[in-house]
Amino acid sequence: MYAIARQRILGQSFQKMRPAVSVLRSYSSAAKQITVRDALNSALDEEMSADPKVFLMGEEVGEYQGAYKITKGLLEKYGPERVLDTPITEAGFTGIGVGAAYYGLKPVVEFMTFNFSMQAIDHIINSAAKSNYMSAGQISVPIVFRGPNGAAAGVGAQHSQCYASWYASCPGLKVLSPYNSEDARGLLKAAIRDPDPVVFLENELLYGESFPVSDEVLDSSFCIPIGKAKIEREGKDVTITAFSKMVGYALKAAEILEKDGIYAEVINLRSIRPLDRSTINTSVRKTNRLVTVEEGFPQHGVGAEICASVVEESFAYLDAPVERIAGADVPMPYAANLERMAVPQIEDIVRAAKRACYRSVPLAAAA
C-alpha cells in the first residue's frame, strides 16, 4: 500500500505537467520506456520465478513464443512443465486449468483472444467464479485468464468483441483491464498473486506501445491494488471514464478539450470488477458531468453500470445527463471505413464531453 501511495503522488505531479502520453519525460535519471508487451512478459517472468506454483498454459505460448510474443522466452527459462502448449481446445484446457487451481496451483491460462473464451465460458463462470461460494470457502480458485480483448484492426466480427461487461457482471470473478505498461505490470502481478479467478483483458493494439515506467514499477515486488481506479489526468469540468485502449483516446480528447477551455478529468478504471465506484463518484461530485467510454457493445455495457452507479449515488451532483460513448451496436464490420465507425474515435469523446458541458455542436444528420 505504501508503494502505491508513493506512486500516486509521483503520478499526480506527473499528470499536471505531462502533455501527451507519447512524449518521454525523465524526472529521474533512470526513467525508462517499456512496451506493454515487455511489461506483461516481465510480470509473468517475475511471478513464475517467485512462486513455483505459477504455470502458463495456452495455444502457442511455448515454442511459438506466444501468438503475440507475450510469453517470449519463458519456455526456455522455465521448461515445458511450466509453460504448456495446448491443442486448440479451449473448453478442455480451461477446465484443466481450473482443476489445477482447485488443487492449489496457480495457472495463467491464455486465450489467444477473448473471443475464444466463449468456448470455455462455462468453466470460467460455473467452475471457477462460483466455486468458492458454493463450497463455502473450501475450494478457492487462484487462476488468471488473460489475453487480448476487444477490437484489433480489420479482424472482423468474430474476432473483435469486448467481453468486459459480460465477465464483470459475474460475482466471484475479478476483471482487470490495463492501459499502459505500468498497469500491465502491476495488475498482472496482482492478478497472479490474487487467490480468486481473475479475467485479465489486454489489448492487442497496445502491446507494441511504449510507456515510461519508474524504477518502482520495474521492481519485482511492484503491484497495483485490485479495485482501484487511477486518475490519469485531473480536471474540474467533466469526468471521463475509460479502460484499456480508450484511456489513450480519452487523454487525447482531454488535450483537445483543454484548448476549448474544458478541463476533463480522465479516470483509468484499471479494475472493471470490482468497479471503483468511490473514485468515480468522487470525481463526478467534483465535475458534475460524466462521459463513459468503452469499446464494447453499448447495451448492458460497462458505461451503463457506471451511469447507474452515479445516478444512484450522486444524482444531486449531476448537472447534465450522463453521456455514453461505446462501440457501435453492430457486429464489427470489415471495411476500414465502416470499422472506423464501429469503434469510438477521439472526436466522439470530445463531442460527448462538450454535450455534457452544454457546449455541443448541432447533431449530425442520421446515416
Partner: protein, 395 residues
C-alpha cells in the same frame, strides 16, 4: 457364483470349512477385524480395450467385506431417507439419488487413499460419504443448514471435502472431467504420486470437453482415470438413443479402457487398483462401470416412463450390490444373518439420528449471503436485491 468358488482352489478354502465348527464353539467372534485373505471371483470377467484385463480373482477379507456391507447400507439408507425428506419438502431444488450404484463408491475407496482425488457429477451424496463425509454434513446441506458440508450455500449438487481430496459435486454435465484432468495435472506437477478419478455418466460420455481433456491428458501423460458410471440412462434417454457407440470403455480410442460390473464392489476395487497403477505410469485410462440407479434421474423423475418396472425390479433381484456382499459374507460365514440385520438396524438409527440433528440445525445467518464470494474480498461492496437497503463489504 458358488460354482466358480468351488472351482478355484485356494488354501483359504480349507480354513473356511472349519469356520462353522469354530463359530459353534466360540461365543464371541470378532466379525470386522479379521484380515485373513479370502479370494473371490468377480461376477463377470473384465472386458479390456487396448490393455490386458486384470484377473477376475480378487483378494479380500472379512473386515473389508463387512465394511463394504456397512458402508453401502449407510449409503442406501441415506438416499432413501433423502427421498422422504424431499417429498416432505425439507429438501428443495434438485436431488439426484445414487441408490443402486453404491458399489462404485465403496469399491473405489477400497482401492484408493485419501491422497488420490475424486471428482464427480451432481449425483454426489454417496461419493462424498465414501470420502469420509458425515451423515450430518449430508442432511444439513440438503436441508440448507449451517452444519452442511458447504454450510448450506451449495445444496445437493455441491458437496465438497477438500481435506479428503473430494472436489465435488458439479452441476454442469461433463464439466467435472476436464476439472478432474486438471487435478491429475496438479498431482503430477507436485510429484504427489497420486491419481485422480473423474466420474461421469453415460449422458456426459458424449460431451466434447471430455475428449478434449482426454486428448490433453494422454499427450501430457496425466494420472487421470475417467470413470463412466453407466447406469444406461442419461436422464430419460437410454444409452442407445444418445450414443452411436455405447461401448464407453472403448470411446477413448487411443486410451485404454476396461468394462467393469459396477454392481460388484470387488470388481470395482480390482479395476480401480489396476487403473491407478496404470495411470501413474502410462497416463489416462477409462473405466466403464456397468451400474444402475433405482431412482429416476432426480426426484422430479419417477424413472418409470422410460424404463419398465420389471427392469428395475429385475436388477434389484439379480444384481443388487448390497445383496451380493451379504451373500458373500454369509457364504464365507463371516457373520450371521442376524448380525447383518443388526448392522442394518444400527445404520438406520444412525441415519435417523443424523436427520434429527440436521433438522435442529439452524439455517445460515443472513450475513452469509455475502460470505465467500471471494477468497479475498478486498473490502469491496456487494449488494442485495435493493441496494439502498442491503449492502455488504466483502472481507
Amino acid at each position: 457364483m458358488a460354482l466358480s468358488q468351488l472351482a478355484s482352489s485356494s488354501p483359504s478354502r480349507s480354513v473356511n470349512l472349519l469356520k462353522p465348527l469354530l463359530s459353534a464353539i466360540s461365543l464371541h467372534r470378532p466379525i470386522s477385524t479379521d484380515t485373513t485373505p479370502i479370494t473371490v471371483e468377480t461376477s463377470v470377467p473384465f472386458t479390456a480395450h487396448q490393455c490386458e484385463a486384470p484377473s477376475r480373482t480378487v483378494q479380500t477379507n472379512a473386515q473389508e467385506l463387512l465394511n463394504f456391507f456397512r458402508d453401502m447400507a449407510v449409503m442406501r439408507r441415506m438416499e432413501i431417507a433423502a427421498d422422504s425428506l424431499y417429498k416432505a419438502k425439507l429438501i428443495r431444488g434438485f436431488c439426484h439419488l445414487y441408490d443402486g450404484q453404491e458399489a462404485v463408491a465403496v469399491g473405489m475407496e477400497a482401492a484408493l487413499t485419501k491422497k488420490d482425488c475424486i471428482i464427480t457429477s451432481y449425483r454426489d451424496h454417496c461419493t462424498f460419504v465414501g470420502r469420509d463425509g458425515t451423515l450430518l454434513e449430508v442432511f444439513a446441506e440438503l436441508m440448507g443448514r449451517q452444519a452442511g458440508c458447504s454450510k448450506g450455500k451449495g445444496g445437493s449438487m455441491h458437496f465438497y471435502k477438500k481435506d479428503s481430496n473430494f472436489y465435488g459435486g458439479h452441476g454442469i454435465v461433463g464439466a467435472q472431467v476436464p476439472l478432474g484432468c486438471g487435478l491429475a495435472f496438479a498431482q503430477k506437477y507436485c510429484k504427489d504420486e497420486a491419481v485422480t478419478f473423474a466420474l461421469y455418466g453415460d449422458g456426459a460420455a458424449n460431451q466434447g470437453q471430455l475428449f478434449e481433456a482426454l486428448n490433453i491428458s494422454a499427450l501430457w501423460n496425466l494420472p487421470a482415470i475417467l470413470v463412466c458410471e453407466n447406469n444406461h440412462y442419461g436422464m430419460g434417454t437410454a444409452e442407445w438413443r444418445a450414443a452411436k457407440s455405447p461401448a464407453y470403455y472403448k470411446r477413448g480410442d487411443y486410451a485404454p479402457g476396461l468394462k467393469v460390473d459396477g454392481m460388484d464392489a470387488l470388481a470395482v476395487k480390482q479395476a480401480c487398483a489396476f487403473a491407478k497403477e496404470h495411470a501413474l505410469k502410462n497416463g489416462p485410462i477409462i473405466l466403464e462401470m456397468d451400474t444402475y440407479r433405482y431412482h429416476g434421474h432426480s426426484m422430479s423423475d419417477p424413472g418409470s416412463t422410460y424404463r419398465t418396472r420389471d427392469e428395475i425390479t429385475g436388477v434389484r433381484q439379480e444384481r443388487d450390490p448390497i445383496e451380493r456382499i451379504r451373500k458373500l459374507i454369509l457364504l464365507h460365514d463371516l457373520a450371521t444373518e442376524k448380525e447383518l440385520k443388526d448392522i442394518e438396524k444400527e445404520v438406520r438409527k444412525e441415519v435417523d439420528d443424523a436427520i434429527a440433528q440436521a433438522k435442529e440445525n439452524p439455517v445460515p445467518e443472513p450475513s452469509k449471503l455475502f460470505s465467500d464470494v471471494y477468497a479475498k474480498g478486498l473490502g469491496v461492496e456487494s449488494f442485495g436485491a435493493d441496494r439502498k437497503e442491503v449492502r455488504a463489504t466483502l472481507a
